[in-house]
C-alpha cells in the first residue's frame, strides 16, 4: 500500500505522526514526510486510522 498526501490540504497538524510515528513524520521544515514508500498490508488498520484522524482529509491509501 502507498500513502497519498494532498499537499494543498495538509496543515502539518501531526495527528498522523501520533498514530503511526514510523510511517509519518513532520520534518524540521514543517512539512509531512512519508517514511515508508510501500507499507505492508498488516498496517492497514493504522493507515486507515491515520486517514480518518486527519483534520484536513489530506491522506488516502492507494493499494
Amino acid at each position: 500500500m502507498r500513502i497519498v498526501v494532498d499537499r494543498s490540504r495538509c496543515s502539518s497538524i501531526g495527528l498522523c505522526e501520533a498514530t503511526a510515528p514510523d510511517i509519518f513524520e513532520i520534518g524540521p521544515d514543517g512539512a509531512l514526510h512519508i517514511l515508508v514508500e510501500d507499507v505492508s498490508a498488516d498496517r492497514r488498520t493504522d493507515l486507515e486510522q491515520a486517514c480518518e484522524n486527519c483534520p484536513t482529509q489530506a491522506l488516502s491509501i492507494e493499494d
Binding site: 495527528l15 501520533a18 513532520i26 512539512a31
Partner: protein
C-alpha cells in the same frame, strides 16, 4: 416548513449557562445542566453572557453545542464555523483579539501557513528528543518542595511545570518567566476580583498585552542579533508567502504560546492531583505499574480536568447543524467539559477510571485544524510531574477544598493545599 427565525426572534433556552453565577458554581453543578441539555436539547440558543468588560450591542446570544458527536462535527467544519471572529464566548475588542490570540483565532489559508511554522517543534518525535529536559524540570520542581511537607500546589508545582517547559521551548529567559506566567492568567482571569484586585478588567487585559508584547519585542531584537535554537528564532527567521512575519504577528503568536502553554497544563496538573486524592483505588492501580500505566492514566486525567471548557466558532454563512438553521454571524460555543461527560461515548463518565481505553476525550480538541498543538508536550509534562510526585512523595494529598476560578474558558484552580511526609534523604540531585 417552519419559518427561519432571525437572531433577535429566537427564544432563549430556559437553562442558564450564560450567567456569571453559573460559571462560579462547581463543575458538578454545571454538569447537571449540561446533562439535561445533552439529553433533551443538544443544540440550544442562549442569552449572551454579560461580563462588564466590553459590551457588544450586536451580541444577541449563542448556540450551545454540548454533545460529543456535535462538537466533533463543528470542529471538523472550519469552512462553516470560523475561528477568526474570536474564540471566546464574549466579544472582545478587535485589538485584544489581534494582539493575544495568534493563529488560534485565524482561519485557513493563513492559519495553515502560520501553524506549519510551529508544527515541527511540537511533534511526538521532537518532544521525545527533549523529554530528558522535561523530566529534569519536573525533578527540580519536586526537589524544591520535597522537604516542606505542605505547599500551595498551584503556585509551587502546577504553575511551574508548564512555565519552565514552554519558556525553554520559546526561548524566554529566567528573569521574565514568573512575570509571563502571572500575566497569562489574565487571559481568562480578568473577570475574577481576586486577581484583579480593584483594577478595571479591560485596562488590566491591555496591561497584560503591553507587558507580554514588551517581552516579545525584546526577544525579537535579541534573536535577530543572535539566533538561538528556539521558537522565537524560528519566528524571526520564518517567511510566509515570501514575507517575514511582522513584529506584531510574532508578538501575537508569542502571547498565544505562553497563554496556551501555561494556563492549560497548570489546570490539568491541579485537577489531576485532586482526582488522585479523591480516588485512592485508582491511584493504587496506577502505582502497581506506574511506567506501563501512566500513558493511559494521563488521558483520563486530561479528560477529567478538561482544562479548556469552551471554544467559540462563528458561522461563516447560513448553514445547518443538528437540524437547526444557523445564521451567518451566529456564535456557536462548544462545551468540552460537557462532551467529555457524554454517556454516548463514555461509560460512567462521572467516575475517574485511569484504565479507560479507548478514551476518546476532546480535551485536546475534536480533531480539527485547531487541534491542540501542545498535546504531546502536555502529555509528557503530566507524565513526568506525576511520576516524580507520586514516587518521591507517595502520600501527597490535597487537604481541604481547592479554590476555583469563575471563568468560562479555563477550568481554573486558583489555589489548592497539599500535604505530604517530607522526603527523608532530602532533595535528590
Amino acid at each position: 416548513m417552519t419559518a427561519i427565525l432571525t437572531r433577535a426572534e429566537r427564544p432563549y433556552d430556559p437553562a442558564d449557562i450564560s450567567s456569571s453565577e453559573f460559571w462560579a458554581s462547581s463543575a458538578r453543578d454545571r454538569e447537571k445542566v449540561f446533562a439535561e441539555l445533552r439529553a433533551h436539547r443538544p443544540i440550544s440558543w442562549h442569552r449572551p453572557v454579560k461580563n462588564g468588560m466590553f459590551e457588544d450591542p450586536n451580541d444577541q446570544g449563542f448556540w450551545a453545542v454540548v454533545r460529543h458527536a456535535d462538537l466533533v462535527e463543528v470542529t471538523r467544519r472550519p469552512q462553516d464555523f470560523l475561528s477568526g471572529k474570536g474564540i471566546t464566548f464574549e466579544s472582545l475588542p478587535p485589538e485584544a483579539l489581534d494582539a493575544a490570540q495568534g493563529f488560534i483565532a485565524m482561519d485557513p489559508p493563513r492559519h495553515t501557513k502560520i501553524r506549519r511554522l510551529m508544527a515541527a517543534a511540537f511533534t511526538p518525535k521532537q518532544l521525545a528528543r527533549i523529554d530528558d529536559h522535561i523530566v529534569a524540570n519536573a525533578r527540580r520542581i519536586v526537589d524544591d518542595i520535597a522537604d516542606k511537607g505542605e505547599v500551595d500546589f498551584v503556585t509551587e508545582v502546577a504553575a511551574l511545570v508548564p512555565m519552565h517547559n514552554i519558556c525553554d521551548m520559546v526561548g524566554i529567559p529566567e528573569e521574565h518567566r514568573r512575570t509571563i506566567a502571572y500575566e497569562s492568567q489574565f487571559a481568562d482571569g480578568w473577570r475574577d476580583p481576586r486577581l484583579l484586585q480593584g483594577a478595571d478588567p479591560l485596562a488590566r487585559v491591555f496591561q497584560t498585552i503591553a507587558t507580554v508584547h514588551g517581552v516579545a519585542h525584546e526577544l525579537i531584537e535579541a534573536r535577530r542579533r543572535k539566533p538561538e535554537n528556539d521558537l522565537m528564532t524560528a519566528m524571526v527567521q520564518a517567511e510566509v508567502d515570501g514575507e517575514r512575519l511582522t513584529d506584531d504577528d510574532i508578538a501575537s503568536i508569542f502571547a498565544l504560546l505562553i497563554i496556551a502553554g501555561n494556563d492549560t497544563t497548570r489546570q490539568s496538573t491541579s485537577h489531576g492531583m485532586k482526582a488522585l486524592t479523591d480516588f485512592p483505588d485508582q491511584r493504587a492501580w496506577l502505582m502497581e505499574d506506574i511506567d506501563a500505566r501512566m500513558p493511559v492514566a494521563i488521558e483520563e486525567i486530561v479528560r477529567w480536568a478538561t482544562p479548556i471548557m469552551t471554544f467559540r466558532r462563528t458561522a461563516a454563512h447560513d448553514t445547518e447543524l443538528g437540524g437547526h438553521q444557523i445564521t451567518e454571524g451566529d456564535k456557536v460555543i462548544m462545551f468540552y467539559s460537557s462532551a467529555n461527560m457524554d454517556t454516548e461515548v463514555f461509560d460512567h463518565p462521572e467516575r475517574l477510571d485511569l484504565s479507560r481505553s479507548p478514551n476518546k476525550h476532546v480535551a485536546f480538541g475534536g480533531g480539527g485544524i485547531h487541534h491542540c498543538l501542545g498535546a504531546q508536550l502536555a502529555r509528557r509534562q503530566l507524565s513526568a510531574t506525576f511520576r516524580e510526585l507520586l514516587t518521591r512523595l507517595p502520600d501527597i494529598r490535597v487537604v481541604g477544598e481547592p479554590e476555583l476560578g469563575n471563568g468560562n474558558f479555563f477550568h481554573t484552580v486558583m489555589s489548592m493545599k497539599v500535604e505530604f511526609t517530607p522526603e527523608k534523604s532530602g532533595p535528590r540531585r
